[in-house]
Subunit: 373 residues, 4 copies
């Protein structure tokens, strides 16, 4: 794999590297890690790749790699959002599959354009909605799909962080800087950075689609250019309703992603910071706690377990599950057998949907009322 | 004390009796426990009061008691909501203080009327927003008042139950029947029964006031006449914003009342089902867990502690704190020294505010948009 | 009821008063609360009893009360341990039933003597092993009795406090003073004060008996006269084995009483500081969490529930359960129908066993080896 | 790196591969994965190594590899215990550093022999006591070293699993078979397999040494040849005392490794199944919860953090920390600069100590009394 982005100061680059390589199916061999050739070179050294494959920009990388016998099999895009589309388009044009960080693009319009390009290319395109890779998220998803909770009536998803409680973007903090800059992040702040994760997780696990939303977005930290705290009412395609909340000014929270789904017979609760447990509560039976790697889990969960019960898997492992599924899809594609990507792996559809969510949230906030999806 | 309501099948009557008597300051000696004289007599026997003081109705009780040298000192109202106003008015008119279950009345209009009567009477009037009696709620309140979290920016309160997930009101279940009946419960279902608790807790702890609300109410169980699931956006008088959610169809939840308040420097979290802990999270220090009865708690918390740390106090004890404060106020009043009730004891103001909240929630839902408070 | 002990500075007196009266079956009407008549009078006033019934000593109380038509029905003993025996003997001799705080006496020899007196008297004698009154302890006990875990193989009980981490007894702290004084506490320190609770809870829930023990006792705080930290290996009468640990120098712990029982098929875990939950783990099924007042609990648990699920009951309520059972036994006894006390209420047998436990622990420690029971 | 063991059916082989490669410093390039050449070949294929480097046995591997320019830098030993010594000796003799799974050998005598060989060789030797790699274990260790808890007085470590609750070894279960077979596992069952982990963790974090032990070992499952449930009293070199418990028949437990250390001023608690939190309780301050990757952690913890706070790291990451430290030591060694291995990385000393622990536990059990260390 060849990575674009992930240079000095980026948190997500090493994460992608570790995740991609974790199951031994993928190797990082090339990259355009930084917009400065020097930065790219330095990053390449920390990744221990062949120096000649640490390129100054992605165009160079694509061009050089396609000529190699041992060319990269796919491009991993881990840049700020505004570069997702051009890089993805260039890769697809070069006939190279894409694994992209989320959100898919910087705007809904761009996402639609990308979807067309993906379709036209016939190439695998994956989107790293990391939380979809957790074992217990897979179990929760299977549980909903099997109707174990009865008809779903109520949903509540929230994603709270506190790291942007102050004006961090003014202190030279690279992560904070681009994430709060509309030119690089797109039109969504918290709603784009983490709201999309919450939105995806909700639809991914429940199997439902949001059809209407009433969102209210705020910018709490003075001078910030994008939203940093958001709440939304949701209506789902089966008549259920609920809420989505996200915040990056929830001081004291680290990465509190919490999903709760209520059905007629019971409910489930999953928390990203305690990812190896899934709590299921019933109307008339004892509460149950499902544990990762347990014998009683369904096939979807068990197939992604690497360690025995009680040996916690975490964020990197969840990430790696997505890369593993993508790698398998690549193999199929190379053998000319690529059908649709596995339903468990988020792809361009999830990407479009996420960008639509951001756009709709902003529109709803503008109107101070409900919007359709 | 003389109780009105709390007869056979009522959950809340024995709770009030235990809570009132717990600290040895109050004794239940009379009651009009049921609308049937026979029911009242039977209830009186279970409460072990003098049979001659188990009255057929509250008018009888008020009339008979005022003639006694050992007359009741106050009336505790524990009936369905629609009777709160007439009983309270009759008691006040008879010169007898009132401790009422919440909500204060069945409508905002009634609450305003009651407020006038209370003011005119000069009598103590207390409202049993039970959760205000918890020790760690007191600590949280003091923490906010002292500004320990910095300016409050974000609030989130939720109160989820699952017991009305089915049409329980059609099965002869007394509690479910009156709570879902507009004639007895008033215009609010879940929003009145438990939403008011959440609303009160939020304002009580944060010290802030809700100034605007956008609420969406649903009736999930077919045939039910009142709301059973509600979500609201809130704006607070200091510019903070947040959410209030309540539900009685959250299958699997028992009595999940959760309050989170986020300030500039940190946040606090309190859960009613784990009431002896208060979690405080900071931007740049380890998370703290405050425990009931600990030496480091503030005076407001310590004064209501009965057992040493690690010996859990619960719902009845919280309830008893309110009765204890009311009993102390009665003593002051009898000595002609009643000033305003202690700020920690919810009174008619909280009652009016709670009814306003219900009314505003329903209006907001009707308009599908924001309403002012 | 008439109380002996519980005067100024005693933590346990008010606890007994609240617990005894909580369910409306018992009223505190007399007492010899202090060894100083003045102290007794003052305590009587705080308990709001008739001043003429606040006696200077227990002999006075017994004598005076037996002449009254409205005499006390039983004596509650809440003094330091060394007074348990003389007071109990005097009460029994006076024909008055006894509810005693634990441990039953100050030595095993005394306990045997008391057992004889109880048997001879034919009077009800109860022992307040508080933790036996918790609803989920009852559920756990029923679960073991029904064999749901399969044959029990392994047990682990621990009771950790930190309040005696320093030489508190030298600071005028009344509780610390008598509990660390052999003359008033008996020969056991932590092993007597809290070890007996752990021991009782273990046998009470498991239905098993300890048959052999290897205990090691330490005195960690220099100058202290009794043990403050103890660990023991146990062998049970069914071949199971396990551990009992207790400490009052476990700095930072409040009142951590934790019981775990492992059977062939699964295990249970109960923590006193989180008393309304019972965790049950299975070999091949999801972990279960049983909640107080839930519909699926067994009869033994449900009969002691006062509040609905999710409305926490605590230490005082557990205490009150024992008093309630004792009150019911008194009624039967007055009607000449007293059989054995209910198996759920600890009595003199538990008292003897507890004192035997202390004596055996000290003996084992002396021998540095196993002792039989 | 070249791996010995880790072939078909082994849980620990892939874990070592992932952990070793996680930080990009090590690559698995060769192996003797199975005692059957065919099994080794098949395993090699799943690890995607060059088929010519999947050797039929470790002697072959050592011989072949030393002749290669791109020879392995070290050998990772992941076989059943009885093979640890011969493989380690052979590697050292061949001048190749060793990273070994624990316990170091199959007996104390063997461990002493190995220690001599390691010393003589001057080669790096690491031991994968995985739990020593957790970030919050590092924080706990630093906290003890800095004396934050005051003098340590009491320790309690336990390691409970339930997977051997039945006679799994008779069902063809490979893991269960060798671990319960004295010929392959050595003289310790649970005490060797997991007791050594508990023992190491205790000494590693507390900085103390066990000087005396009184252990009682049981074999609960009929027909099993080694212990499966153990309890021990400990005395530490600073006068502290405590307990160590381990069990593989604790039905319902997955991998419950719990460490608690009590000092004069406070205590700490760490649970492997919730590894990103460290609970610290104080005598007179609120309980604190330290979270992985937080800004307030000490250097020892922060240096091993890979993901930001709230993005859980797990078992594989902890494992990888040890491999990372070993890799760094290898670099130093190659540059002729190998001093002692970093104190945070368990080495041969820990290995000898662990084997001594097993031997002492068995001896103590035989004597039914205390033994010295």
């Amino acid at each position: 794999m060849g990575m674009v982005g992930g240079g000095p100061g980026a948190f997500i680059g090493p994460v992608h590297r570790i995740a991609a390589e974790l199951d031994g199916k993928i190797e990082l061999v090339a990259g355009a890690f930084s917009q400065s050739p020097e930065g790219s070179r330095r990053a390449g050294a920390t990744y221990r790749i062949d120096p000649s494959r640490a390129y100054g920009d992605y165009q160079q990388m694509l061009e050089a790699e396609r000529k190699r016998a041992d060319a990269i099999d796919f491009v991993a895009i881990v840049t700020p959002n505004h570069l997702h589309l051009p890089i993805a388009l260039a890769a697809l044009e070069a006939g190279i599959p894409v694994m992209s960080d989320k959100p898919a693009t910087a705007s809904y319009e761009e996402a639609l354009k990308l979807a067309v390009a993906v379709a036209k290319s016939g190439l695998p395109y994956g989107l790293t909605h990391t939380y979809a890779g957790y074992q217990m998220v897979r179990e929760a998803r299977a549980m909903c799909a099997a109707g174990k909770l009865g008809a779903i009536r109520k949903v509540a998803v929230e994603y709270f962080q506190g790291w942007l409680s102050g004006p961090l973007e003014g202190t030279g903090h690279k992560q904070a800087a681009w994430r709060t800059d509309p030119a690089r992040s797109g039109s969504g702040g918290a709603i784009g950075d983490i709201g999309t994760h919450a939105f995806h997780l909700l639809e991914y696990v429940s199997g439902l689609k949001v059809t209407e939303m009433n969102a209210t977005l705020r910018t709490v930290v003075p001078g910030r250019k994008l939203d940093d705290d958001c709440n939304a009412f949701l209506r789902m395609n089966n008549g259920a309703a609920g809420t989505l909340a996200c915040s990056q000014v929830a001081a004291g929270e680290m990465n509190e992603l919490l999903l709760r789904i209520y059905g007629e017979k019971g409910s489930l609760e999953w928390q990203q910071q305690d990812p190896n447990r899934l709590v299921v509560r019933w109307l008339d039976k004892p509460e149950e706690v499902y544990h990762a790697a347990a014998s009683y889990l369904g096939a979807d969960a068990r197939v992604v377990a690497r360690t025995p019960g009680g040996h916690p898997e975490g964020y990197l492992e969840a990430f790696a599950v997505l890369y593993g599924e993508f790698a398998d899809a690549l193999v199929a594609w190379k053998q000319g057998k690529l059908g649709p990507l596995p339903a468990t792996l988020p792809g361009i559809e999830a990407g479009v949907r996420g960008m639509h969510f951001i756009e709709r949230a902003i529109e709803s906030n503008k109107r101070q009322g409900w919007v359709e999806f």
